[in-house]
């Protein structure tokens, strides 16, 4: 769909805010039919829904991917409630519950209007994203009223028990709880309890200076630091119309692809660990460590933190020779290990058919990243909504049709090969020149979207500047937040023994989901 097609459907033309971004103002009651119509009839992808507090009222925003552009629908509210989209758009379930928790706006007719993000024992009627809630305020939690894990519509029956797994698990620092309904081995239902470590990242952004804000973005999800800071910086650069120098645009490709490589390699190592292939696990882990050391040598940070800044980059690439030499050696070794792994039956037997995700579910929930591509959904924001130097580079988007852990594994190995190639192209074509542009004082009210395709998929940011040019609202929608709700759907009907493969083949970030 382009702007014309949207106009034909809605009878009104959206306004082009800048390249790749359309805006349309609506009344809140219009959202209920316009959004599902654009999604079901127009083939748009639901990206997210969120709220913001404007000077005198609240507003609901819906972001859609309409093909070449993102379309932002803005609906200022008259009251503290809005109509839920969930009945027709299951992907809106978590975003609307989050709005309810953090802003105190009620999604009317939401089928499961329960707490999502805030901890149990958080006082009713206290909404931390409202401007009247100061950032420094400490809140005393009441002791939880009931014991036992949270379950929404558990499967009941003779001999079925509910097994909580987590939130504290061996070998995993982050906290998530999976409650499995099972008579023994087969998984009949799975309940996800997340957000144990919700840090209020969106609130932390408010009022932080533009020099420091990328550091906050990096901490949204530690292993996606570069993608997060890139998406955030691009949102600000778009809002303030900053022209980033071409050299920085190319350098950003180098670092973004290095981040993709170490994440995907780590994912393969974890799969090998699950299959008890200790040598393979060790060898892929060594490759990952070599990429982290390369990152450290190039930028001073193993996880590429403190590299991006609004307007460009903080550091230049001193000697591309070091990078290119290590890259070709890594590529050769990665190829050799992967070829052997793809011939190892005890590995393939575990991942083929494990954790299947249907294309329909992937589309209905708006899945992104390798999870979507592994189920045959051909989307990649590097190609579909190009940014940085991607439009100038040639690359293919890897997809697979089967939707199982094996399909996602194949998508990731191919993406690693493509990433090596992209880095080489970016270095070859890298122009000389400065690596950062001046940052003007933000106009109050200026706002924009920014996005980046991280290792886990599309990371989406919305920024809005308020009085005195300070950050007034930052919406962070990570790939992990979108993809987690799909996890229970891949797991029902599977067996407990394969749980690790299913979880690892999703390879999502908990911190990024919790926010």
């Amino acid at each position: 769909m382009n702007a014309r097609a949207i106009e034909e459907r809605l009878g009104r033309a959206p306004e082009r805010a800048r390249s790749g971004e359309l805006w349309l103002r609506l009344r809140p009651e219009q959202l209920v039919y316009i959004v599902p119509d654009l999604v079901e009839g127009g083939g748009a992808r639901f990206v997210t829904e969120f709220a913001a507090e404007l000077s005198e009222r609240f507003a609901i925003y819906v972001i859609l991917d309409v093909g070449d552009d993102y379309l932002v629908l803005e609906a200022p509210l008259e009251a503290e409630r809005f109509s839920s989209l969930v009945v027709r758009l299951p992907a809106a379930e978590w975003p609307e519950r989050e709005i309810r928790d953090l802003f105190g706006l009620t999604p009317a007719a939401h089928p499961n209007p329960t707490r999502l993000v805030l901890p149990e024992g958080w006082p009713e009627g206290l909404y931390p994203m409202r401007k009247s809630f100061p950032r420094e305020r400490e809140v005393e939690l009441a002791p939880p009223e009931r014991s036992g894990p949270r379950m929404h519509e558990p499967v009941e029956g003779d001999g079925i028990f509910h097994m909580p797994y987590g939130p504290i698990r061996s070998g995993i620092f982050e906290s998530a709880q999976f409650v499995v309904d099972t008579p023994g081995e087969k998984i009949l239902g799975l309940h996800l309890n997340m957000f144990f470590k919700h840090r209020g990242m969106e609130k932390i952004f408010e009022g932080v200076s533009l020099e420091q804000a990328p550091l906050v973005a990096e901490r949204v999800s530690g292993t996606d630091s570069f993608a997060q800071s890139l998406a955030f910086c691009q949102a600000v650069e778009r809002a303030l119309e900053i022209e980033v120098p071409p050299r920085a645009l190319h350098l950003r490709i180098v670092f973004a692809e290095l981040e993709r490589i170490y994440n995907h390699v780590d994912h393969i190592a974890k799969h090998c660990e699950g299959a008890s292939l200790n040598v393979a696990n060790a060898r892929f882990s060594i490759l990952k460590e070599r990429v982290l050391r390369l990152n450290a040598a190039l930028t001073g940070s193993r996880y590429l933190r403190g590299v991006n800044q609004v307007g460009g980059l903080r550091q230049d690439l001193a000697d591309p020779g070091v990078l290119l030499d290590e890259l070709s050696s890594l590529e050769k070794d990665f190829g050799a290990e992967t070829r052997l792994l793809k011939r190892t039956d005890s590995f393939l037997d575990r991942i083929i058919t494990a954790g299947p995700l249907s294309r329909e579910d992937a589309v209905a929930y708006g899945a992104v990243g390798p999870i979507a591509r592994g189920s045959g959904v051909d989307l990649d924001s590097r190609r579909d909504h190009p940014y940085a130097a991607y439009p100038e580079l040639a690359f293919a988007v890897a997809t697979a049709a089967d939707g199982d852990a094996d399909a996602r594994f194949n998508v990731r190995t191919e993406e690693i090969h493509n990433a090596f190639d992209l880095i080489r192209q970016a270095v070859d074509r890298m122009p000389e020149g400065s690596i950062s542009a001046e940052v003007p004082v933000p106009e109050p009210g200026s706002r924009a979207l920014g996005w980046a395709e991280g290792a886990r998929g599309e990371e989406m940011y919305f920024v809005r500047f308020g009085e005195k040019g300070l950050l007034d609202r930052v919406k962070v929608r990570t790939a992990s937040f979108v993809n987690w709700p799909l996890f229970p759907r891949t797991i029902e009907g599977q067996i407990l023994t394969d749980f690790v493969f299913m979880e690892q083949s999703f390879a999502l970030s908990q911190g990024g989901c919790d926010g």
């Binding site: 020099e211 901490r219 292939l277 060790a282 060898r283 450290a296 040598a297 001073g300 403190g306 005890s346």
Partner: protein, 109 residues
């Protein structure tokens, strides 16, 4: 499986002899901010250092400047403040037995 067995056998050792033999980090690796008291201008305000530091690892009062490595996220912004009283060093061995040992205090005068 046999393939992995051979590959394991033919791998060289990748673990190092650290800590007996020290590991060096690449130049420019940001691990430890170091404050150089002689470069702190006794006449000027030290506030810009505190303002540069997002997590509040650098605190400044009328009389003193405190650097608490326990709060530091190694971003290196303090090393970019004009005046240059901070540098980032690649020394990553930050562990101490007592968290008070992570704190450095510089007094005026």
């Amino acid at each position: 499986m046999l393939g992995w067995f051979y590959r394991g056998l033919t791998s060289r050792r990748v673990t190092t002899r650290y800590p007996i033999v020290p590991e060096s980090m690449p130049e420019g690796f940001r691990a430890r901010p170091v404050v150089h008291p002689e470069r702190l201008d006794p006449e000027a305000s030290w506030e810009p250092y505190a303002r540069a530091c997002l997590p509040g690892a650098i605190q400044v009062t009328e009389e003193e400047l405190t650097l608490d490595l326990g709060r530091c996220i190694c971003c290196g912004l303090c090393a970019q403040v004009p005046g240059g009283a901070f540098t980032m060093e690649p020394d990553f061995e930050l562990a101490v037995r007592n968290c008070q040992d992570l704190v450095t205090v510089v007094r005026r005068g």
